[in-house]
């Protein structure tokens, strides 16, 4: 009898081993990506806090829910299924009219204005960040503002006015020098990858982010099989002359009203009222969390309603690329045929004439213009080789002068690496170049002691 138990245990172990060998190690399939294009004068931290505010809005209004591990999903549908929802910031600081960043302009404005406060301001740059919204009930800014001295009031008025001037000027600069495919290579390549992999895209832009989201939206629609039913844009305080979806613009948005007065370009009509008293909380009437996501105002419910409508209206695209454990996407900025070449750890070369590798597949090949080309590594742990995968490009034909962007993403962590700036594709080499592509990036796949698979990327 003991032997029988031992045999049974052995069989169960074998079954278990077989199941473990076939483990799906990808963390997200299909589903939604909420892309947030941040406002003017935002740091990474500010943009992330804003995006977290959007996520909180969607959670609080039961548009989405969370698993125990913190991941976000849609609620179960009638078939008992739900889909993952991830949030990604398409981060941009802002250029200005004199070639510097808007941050450098804002620093200069503060340096000039702070003298009004005297020597005590000489090294209190927390006041600078407070002027951009970084204040609180225990901040120096609020102590001084609450004291209502003529000295500080004059400083505040002049600083905020000139800060707004710098911001509005930056809008004009971006409008006159809109991001090109080359400038926005990282972000547009990411969107095209997501579209290829069957994601539904909700793009939410605030302030200057609207000047970036419009070309991004137009670019993602270039992907075969991906159309307007799978991507929506919600414009918040749009500092842009055109829009691609519904928008919210408050009557007392001081920044956009100032932009309107300059005549740099036409902006949308106001479509929601903001009480005058709210300017005590946000003197600009423009900030994302304080004003446009504020559910105590008319702005918050309006924006939330637009997000909910857009989110619920998205349908899955008919694109047929796969989201692998990791993926590599190639795009370029014009016509011609550029090829993606992959060398797997066992030496298998995956490219247009050998699309199936040992661990991955070139599932999208483009011979006309712009790309994308797309390689995915399998999600099956027993087929995924550990080791180094190498990726390069070859200008097969007609792409002289083009610049290419190669981007590595993983299902767990999003974008891991992008060639930035984009790379010159070099002279056309035809099939002769298949033997010696320009190698650009290595992807290393490892598994740790706990059996967790990880991918990392580094330039070649």
């Amino acid at each position: 009898m003991k032997h029988r138990h031992w045999i049974l245990a052995a069989v169960l172990m074998l079954v278990g081993a077989e199941r473990a060998a076939a483990e799906d190690i990808c963390q997200a399939r299909e589903g939604y990506v909420i892309g947030y294009f941040n406002g003017v004068g935002n740091t990474q931290a500010m943009a992330l806090a804003g995006m977290a505010g959007i996520k909180r809005t969607m959670l609080n209004l039961s548009m989405v829910t969370t698993n125990d591990d913190g991941s976000v999903r849609t609620f179960l549908d009638a078939n008992g299924e739900s889909e993952p929802v991830v949030f990604e910031a398409f981060f941009n600081t802002t250029g200005s009219e004199n070639g510097r960043s808007v941050f450098e302009d804002l620093v200069e404005v503060f340096e000039q204005r702070r003298v009004e406060l005297g020597e005590i301001s000489s090294n209190r740059w927390d006041l600078f960040w407070a002027s951009l919204g970084g204040r609180g009930s225990r901040s120096l800014w609020d102590v001084l503002a609450n004291a209502e001295t003529a000295e500080f009031d004059a400083f505040e008025e002049s600083l905020i006015s000139e800060t707004a001037n710098a911001m509005v000027s930056s809008f004009g600069h971006i409008f006159e020098n809109p991001p090109t495919a080359r400038d926005a290579g990282v972000q547009q390549t990411r969107l095209k990858s997501l579209a290829l992999e069957g994601k539904k895209l909700l793009l939410i832009a605030h302030s200057q982010g609207n000047l970036f989201v419009n070309p991004a939206y137009d670019a993602v629609l270039e992907v075969d099989g991906f159309d307007e039913s799978s991507v929506s844009v919600v414009h918040i305080a749009p500092a842009s002359p055109t829009i691609r979806g519904d928008y919210s613009l408050a009557s007392r948005d001081v920044i956009i009203n100032a932009l309107r007065v300059t005549g740099f370009f036409t902006v949308q009509d106001n479509n929601v009222d903001l009480p005058l008293s709210h300017l005590q909380e946000d003197a600009t009437g423009h900030f994302l969390v304080e004003t446009y996501l504020n559910m105590l105002l008319d702005t918050g419910p309006q924006v939330a309603g637009m997000i909910e409508t857009a989110f619920n209206g998205l349908v899955s695209p008919t694109t047929d690329a796969s989201e692998g454990f990791f993926t590599v996407t190639l795009t370029w900025d014009g016509s011609g045929d550029v090829d993606l070449h992959s060398f797997e750890p066992d030496g298998t070369q995956v490219f247009y004439s050998n699309r199936q590798g040992s661990s991955g597949r070139l599932d999208v090949d483009n011979t006309r213009s712009n790309g994308p080309e797309h390689y995915f590594a399998t999600c099956e742990s027993d087929d995924l080789q550990l080791g180094t995968y190498r990726f390069g490009i070859n200008n097969f034909a007609r792409a002289e002068g083009r610049r290419a962007t190669l981007q590595v993403s993983s299902s767990a962590d999003g974008v891991l690496f992008t060639t930035n700036p984009a790379v010159d594709v070099g002279p056309a080499q035809g099939s002769a170049g298949n033997r010696s592509p320009n190698m650009l990036v290595d992807v290393i796949v490892e598994v740790d002691d706990e059996g967790v698979y990880q991918a990392s990327a580094r330039p070649n």
């Binding site: 500010m46 972000q187 974008v415």
Partner: protein, 192 residues
């Protein structure tokens, strides 16, 4: 492209309309009441205090934290935990619940890391960026109020980049990330 003067007029009008105190009504982060009476305001008849004395009084009576304003980027960190000592005191002054305070410390650590990272090294930059994404995500998981998360992040950012040298470094860090796509990590966002 000129800066139209009309902008200044328009903005001053807005500020005058709200009493010139844009931001004085800021509510979070869950600060305790001041330990001493507020400075004289507009309703009493006492002469207005000078800026210097307002700052000195506020620092002396603990209404605001006395921040490290030394010339070096790192500042003082006696316990070597990656958070400036003055900013730890600043976080303590908010009297946050334990898990939220831990998340705020994680944000502060990531901001400090952003100041100190070598932005010319792609791996270091990516690592610092990921640490900040995890930290903000963690804080957002610990607070159901978007406004509180936003104000805590911004307050810690202001405290961390509180000198010209630190501001310049922090601006350079952010410029280096411009154009990137940054996922907000949901799983295992909180340290420990």
């Amino acid at each position: 492209m000129n800066h139209p003067n009309v902008l200044i007029v328009l903005l001053c009008g807005a500020l005058t309309a709200c009493g010139g105190g844009g931001g004085s009504g800021s509510s979070a982060p869950a600060a305790p009441p001041p330990s001493s009476p507020p400075p004289s305001g507009g309703n009493d008849q006492q002469p207005a205090a000078s800026i210097d004395s307002l700052v000195a009084d506020a620092e002396a009576d603990g209404r605001i934290t006395v921040f490290d304003r030394s010339d070096d980027i790192a500042g003082g960190d006696v316990d070597d935990n990656g958070i400036r000592d003055d900013i730890e005191s600043y976080i303590d002054s908010f009297s946050l619940p334990a898990e939220r305070a831990a998340a705020a410390r994680q944000v502060a650590r990531s901001l400090q890391s952003a100041l100190l990272t070598d932005i010319t090294d792609a791996d270091s930059l990516r690592s610092a960026s990921l640490a900040m994404r995890r930290a903000v995500s963690c804080l957002a998981q610990q607070s159901s109020e978007a406004l509180e998360v936003n104000e805590l992040v911004r307050a810690l950012e202001a405290a961390t980049a509180n000198t010209r040298q630190r501001t310049d470094r922090y601006v350079a860090y952010n410029e280096a990330l411009s154009g990137e796509v940054l996922r907000l990590p949901d799983v295992n966002a909180c340290d420990g």
